[in-house]
């Protein structure tokens, strides 16, 4: 819904032109950034710890490799995390559980990170997520007219039942042959269920496929806090910097304490895979 509003807001931009400008920016002192995830799926728990960088810096942002990381559940079980146990060159700054564990629906998880001499904490609850009943696919006529990527003109149609008696928040991810894909690089696909009826009959995917592709869709449950974070993050990524009509950009609201950026996301996960043939 919100996305549509911004589409309309851009209407005056019909008259506009733009150009790249070099900004003379004040750089804020570096902050700790935590991206943490616990799910009910084996092997899908990680914590990534980095630092903020200058706006014009290129390459990866600095990694923090010497942090102390642990997750605890509401039964008091502690799951310590270790930095890059497999010494993978691309995984600097990524912490994995010392012993594998999976999240359990209904349980609350607590994250503690000690980095740069500061302690950052967060908590989030693992809520249930609805299953995807089925997926169909068809040619999207508008994309077929003017495809963003040649040949990729098929959209998925997703079928599910949304329980009306409870409040749910969802995050959706789309994969094409095992790669995470977005239509635009600043897209985040999520929803609350406030306006949703029970029947989700053939909601089209925002990304497109070609014949022969393996398509995968993931549904993640989010807490209200998680939904707020992703909604804010989307707003920040798609902001026109307090242009006349949009809101003024702001840091996303997070469950992390002590001024850390990022989020500790605890989710149930369901997926559905299909080969387009």
């Amino acid at each position: 819904m919100r996305n549509w509003i911004y589409v309309v807001l851009l209407a005056p931009a019909v008259w506009s032109c733009e150009k790249t400008v070099l900004l003379d920016l004040k750089q804020a002192p570096p902050k700790v950034v935590i991206e943490a995830q616990v799910t009910d799926r084996p092997g899908r728990q990680f914590v990534k710890i980095t630092r903020t960088a200058g706006f014009y810096d290129s390459g990866e942002t600095p990694r923090i490799t010497d942090a102390l990381v642990e997750v605890e559940d509401d039964l008091g079980t502690v799951f310590p995390f270790v930095h890059n146990p497999n010494d993978h060159p691309d995984s600097a700054g990524i912490y994995l559980p010392a012993a594998p564990f999976t999240g359990v629906i209904g349980r609350t998880y607590y994250l503690t990170v000690v980095a740069d001499g500061q302690t950052f904490e967060a908590q989030d609850k693992l809520l249930n997520v609805i299953p995807i009943d089925s997926i169909k696919y068809r040619v999207n006529p508008e994309e077929a007219k003017d495809p963003k990527d040649k040949g990729k003109i098929y959209e998925l149609l997703i079928f599910a039942r949304e329980p009306q008696e409870e409040i749910n928040f969802y995050l959706f991810k789309f994969y094409r042959n095992d790669s995470l894909v977005y239509y635009n690089d600043s897209d985040i696909y999520g929803s609350d269920d406030e306006l949703l009826g029970e029947k989700i009959d053939g909601v089209p995917s925002p990304v497109f496929y070609k014949l022969g592709d393996w398509a995968k869709v993931e549904f993640y449950s989010l807490s209200r806090q998680g939904y707020v974070f992703y909604n804010d993050l989307w707003g920040l990524l798609n902001n026109d910097a307090g242009g006349m009509f949009g809101p003024i950009p702001a840091s996303p609201r997070t469950n992390l304490t002590n001024g850390a950026l990022g989020f500790f996301q605890v989710s149930a996960l369901k997926d559905f895979e299909i080969l387009l043939e």
Partner: protein
């Protein structure tokens, strides 16, 4: 009680005085019978006088005697009336427009020093004939674009109808068309305003020292009045422009008794889009209609209607529209020679609709706001030195923030509606204008605002009413229809004074308190048509502004040059703002997003106006500062308000070479708009969001632009009724790329392909209008 004693004093002093007689009547344009607003009625021997009110009526109460009375008005020949006043006299005056008396007769030149003499300060009146000669964007004459050029007024930005007055935000302006409020004055997202210049008779902007009869908004009143219609002969006027065309018909229904005017305007951008084979529909239209019936000199009736709408539809799958509808019924009645009354019934409606046409994700969203008010305003000419105005206004409002419904049977959406809100607003006011001796004039009074947020409604109680993340409702309060949920009572004192230092020179000072109980639900810089409004409520407190202003006014060279300088300080309590990342749209718990705080602004405004000669125009300079301090916003630190612009220079000039050719020019310069820019970036998943620290910590580059126009009035064939006029204009003559905003994105090339590894970011400056020529043809027959 004390505040009402002055009324008693005025009345009793008048009883004791010697017997007075009244002189009253209407002042009208001799040619078309339009009533003239603000005509100076002056008696040199008494050094006293008045001005005609919004209905062209004046009344003076004077001792028996022989008087010379002067009626003067800008653009009209001054008329002097000599009479023996030994009974009550009703005298209607007609003034000749100067345009008809050029060359032939020497004008008896009474100084038109209204700006020095009047007690009202911080007020600007647009001279419509001047406005028409100035260059306009796409050739569409727009009064709001001219309001934005006045000192103390700041344009919200290019291509918007938003304006900021003395540190107030755009929602703090009360915009009235024939007394009816217009909630969104924009067409095409603000490119044009809803006011069709062809039917506007008079528009006044009050920035300070706001009279007690106005209330409800903190920062300004824009009072636009439409023409009553020519009551002597039928006229058709119109224009064909680059973007829109318009036509107006006016004439008598019964000669000199009643008249009508109907006008319509429509844009035709969509016609071009169709020609370019695009299925998009983008248009707006306006219709103004008015009937005016002069039953006798004691009773007059008006009925005015305005309707306007914008419609956007994108290739059959997305539609959007908004519009205003207002109506005003007025009855002017003279109870006796001294007591003039005006009773108005006013209705206003604003709505917007959003529709997504899709078998699965289709929905329709409707939101509206309705207002109905009854106003009684009276003015009483107590004696030659006191003029009382008082009245009672009752307004009811219904706010329907939004309803979403599926528009197909297969839609995934449910019907969801945000509950309606209702408000009742009573306002009583009284003020007295008093001429104290030769030099001092005072205008003092007060407005009592009694505001009620009423049912039927539910109010949610929260564990923490400002926690917008984990919203925990603890209880729900239920209110029945018209049951008071919350009442707010505020007294708004108003005071203005003028002291004549010497002929053509005066000092003025004013203080006003304004209270605003209608809050705009928007976190953006400029109001957009999907904004909803909310009344003061259980959680929202009224916004209260106090403003003091002082000024020096001086005219030179027989009033050829008007000079003024004003300084002001304004302090606003409970100014309504929103939490960072606030969810304004369709939020049942929107009260958790409210953040009210303080705003303060101060500044000075300088203006020189040349009113006569071949070259006329004005130059103005405004130096001002606006800050906000809102708990819970910007980490509780004060920040520059969105509408802060430190330096603003505006100039307008019209040069009439001869009756055939006229040149016009506009120049504007202002400090750039405050903007929030990143202080770094970070990684989260596949994203590279910006690090945001200070709100409005940067300024966009300065904004400046020059526009030029040429008006050609082909030589008139006096025997023909048809009069034509060409206006050629160039907007943004030196093609300045004026910044609209800056946004950031992943570094990419022209075709949208990411450059490098996708970690690099870049800032993009958006600018709007390049150099734009336009041609408009206006006609009258």
């Amino acid at each position: 009680m004390q505040k009402f004693t002055f009324l008693l004093l005025v009345i009793s002093s008048q009883l004791l005085a010697q017997q007075n007689f009244t002189l009253n009547g209407f002042v009208r344009d001799a040619q078309n019978g339009e009533e003239l607003i603000g005509v100076s009625v002056y008696i040199p021997s008494l050094k006293a006088g008045t001005v005609t009110n919004a209905y062209g009526f004046y009344a003076l109460s004077l001792p028996r005697g022989t008087y010379e009375v002067q009626f003067s008005y800008i653009g009209y020949k001054t008329q002097t009336l000599t009479l023996d006043l030994n009974e009550n006299v009703a005298r209607n005056i007609t003034l000749q427009s100067e345009a008809l008396v050029i060359e032939a007769i020497t004008i008896t030149d009474k100084p038109l020093d209204e700006n020095v003499i009047a007690v009202q300060m911080s007020k600007n009146t647009l001279n419509m004939s001047q406005v028409r000669k100035l260059p306009a964007l796409f050739g569409e004459v727009d009064i709001i674009k001219n309001i934005q050029m006045l000192p103390g007024v700041i344009s919200a930005g290019e291509g918007t109808s938003g304006f900021f007055v003395r540190g107030g935000s755009a929602d703090q302006n009360l915009i009235l068309i024939d007394e009816a409020p217009v909630y969104d004055p924009s067409h095409l997202f603000g490119l044009f305003s809803v006011f069709n210049a062809d039917v506007i008779k008079d528009s006044e902007l009050y920035k300070g020292g706001i009279p007690a009869r106005f209330g409800g908004r903190l920062s300004s009143i824009l009072d636009v009045r439409t023409k009553d219609g020519n009551n002597r002969e039928t006229d058709i006027t119109g224009g064909i422009g680059t973007l829109a065309s318009r036509i107006a018909i006016e004439g008598p229904l019964r000669k000199e008794k009643s008249s009508f005017i109907v006008s319509a305007r429509r844009s035709y951008v969509d016609v071009f889009l169709k020609a370019a084979d695009q299925d998009n529909l983008v248009y707006f239209y306006d219709v103004n209609a008015k009937i005016n019936w002069r039953h006798n000199n004691k009773n007059r009736f008006f009925l005015a209607l305005y309707g306007g709408r914008d419609v956007f539809s994108f290739s059959d799958d997305f539609g959007f529209q908004w519009g205003n509808l207002t109506s005003t019924f007025r009855w002017n009645h003279l109870f006796n020679d001294r007591l003039f009354s005006n009773v108005s019934v006013i209705a206003s409606n604003f709505d917007y609709k959003l529709e997504l046409k899709d078998p699965v994700q289709g929905f329709k969203w409707i939101s509206d706001l309705q207002e109905l008010s009854v106003k009684t305003d009276l003015s009483y000419a107590a004696n030659a030195h006191n003029e009382l105005t008082f009245g009672y206004h009752l307004t009811g409002r219904r706010f329907a923030p939004g309803r979403v419904a599926p528009n197909t049977s297969g839609s995934i959406f449910d019907v969801v509606e945000i509950q309606h809100m209702y408000a009742l607003d009573h306002a009583f006011y009284i003020s007295n204008r008093q001429w104290v001796g030769d030099k001092l004039t005072l205008d003092y009074g007060a407005r009592l605002s009694i505001f009620q947020n009423v049912g039927k409604s539910q109010v949610y109680l929260y564990t923490d009413p400002t926690d917008n993340v984990n919203i925990e409702r603890t209880d729900t309060l239920h209110y029945k229809t018209l049951e008071t949920i919350k009442a707010y009572i505020n007294l708004e004192p108003r005071l203005s004074m003028r002291y004549l230092l010497a002929p053509g020179q005066s000092l003025k000072a004013s203080y006003n308190r304004m209270v605003q109980n209608t809050h705009l639900m928007s976190a953006a810089t400029v109001p957009v048509p999907f904004n909803t409004w909310s009344p003061s409520s259980y959680y929202l407190k009224p916004q209260i502004a106090d403003q003091v202003a002082a000024g020096y006014f001086r005219n030179f060279n027989d009033n050829m040059y008007e000079f003024s300088v004003e300084a002001f300080y304004k302090d606003i309590r409970n100014v309504t703002d929103f939490a960072d990342n606030a969810e304004i749209f369709f939020n049942d718990d929107i009260s958790t997003e409210y953040r009210q705080g303080r705003s303060w602004s101060y500044g000075s405004e300088w203006m020189v106006n040349k009113t006569k000669g071949k070259l006329t125009g004005m130059v103005s300079y405004t130096l001002s500062k606006v800050m906000r301090d809102i708990p819970g916003v910007n980490l509780g630190k004060p920040f520059r308000a969105n509408h802060d612009r430190r330096n603003v220079v505006n100039a307008q000039a019209v040069y009439e070479v001869n009756q055939k050719w006229t040149f016009g020019a506009n120049f504007t310069y202002s400090t750039g708009r405050p903007i929030t820019l990143p202080a770094g970036k970070y990684e989260y998943g596949p994203y590279n969001p910006d690090v945001i620290t200070d709100r409005n910590g940067y300024l966009l580059p300065a904004f400046h632009r020059l526009d030029l126009s040429v008006t050609l009035n082909p030589r008139k064939n006096l025997s023909r009724k048809w009069q034509g006029q060409w206006v050629f204009a160039i907007y943004n003559v030196y093609n300045r790329q004026n910044p609209f905003t800056i946004y950031t994105r992943t570094k990419q090339d022209k075709d949208g392909n990411v450059i490098g590894d996708g970690t690099e970011k870049e800032a993009r400056l958006i600018y709007l209008f390049p150099i734009l020529p336009s041609v408009t043809y206006n006609f009258k027959f």
